[in-house]
Assembly symmetry: C2
Homo-oligomer: 121 residues x 2
């Protein structure tokens, strides 16, 4: 009856957008679009200091955008599967857009092979 009741919960979506509304975080997501990366890779690729990388990754993690996996000394980040349907649609659209950026793809490939296949040693 009343249109004041939340007929649509926009909170998951607004949380996603808030996390993506920062250039550094968006560049991180762009890189992760092409596969998982560890923090040192992101620092190198984006030329950002280590605490910045770590902090922005924490923001993305708290927003459910990324998740991480520890492998010995290194921590690998990847995009997380979205629980909210609309958030999932938006992130899939974003991944599709970034996937079309050839230069970005090449950047990531160069980055990964420069660091050796699959690790940071």
């Amino acid at each position: 009856m009343s249109s004041t009741t939340a007929v649509l919960d926009v909170r998951p979506l607004s949380r996603l957008f808030k996390a993506l509304g920062d250039e550094t975080r968006l560049r991180i997501v762009a890189l992760l679009t092409h596969g998982e990366l560890c923090v040192c890779h992101l620092e190198d690729a984006l030329r950002i200091p280590q605490p910045t990388a770590s902090r922005q990754l924490a923001v993305l993690r708290r927003a459910g955008v990324v998740e991480c996996r520890r492998d010995g000394t290194w921590v690998y980040y990847r995009l997380a599967r979205q629980l909210d349907a609309m958030a999932g649609s938006q992130l899939r659209t974003l991944v599709a857009s970034f996937g079309k950026q050839r230069l970005l793809r090449e950047d990531v490939a160069r980055l990964q092979q420069a660091k050796g296949p699959g690790s940071c040693q």
Copy 2:
């Protein structure tokens, strides 16, 4: 050669996400998904004070998310066509998601007919 050069300009996209990263603004966009509305409609539907509506609409306008048209005393807002390709994709995905929300559609329809067909008189 250097991967520091901005291989991908994320600024238009981050501007869009920053604008959408607020619950009130996202609810406004959700309503505008179904057609243009004047400010007083938005105030009523969202139960927000007038300066809040006006301010958030200004934020959306400066971010290029919405545009407005003056009709006498009233100002009608609608979603704006996106210049940036990736921003356009995101907004289209959002519109598609919101369009599937039946309750929201009904809310808007009720709102518009309660206010009379096409104006605020």
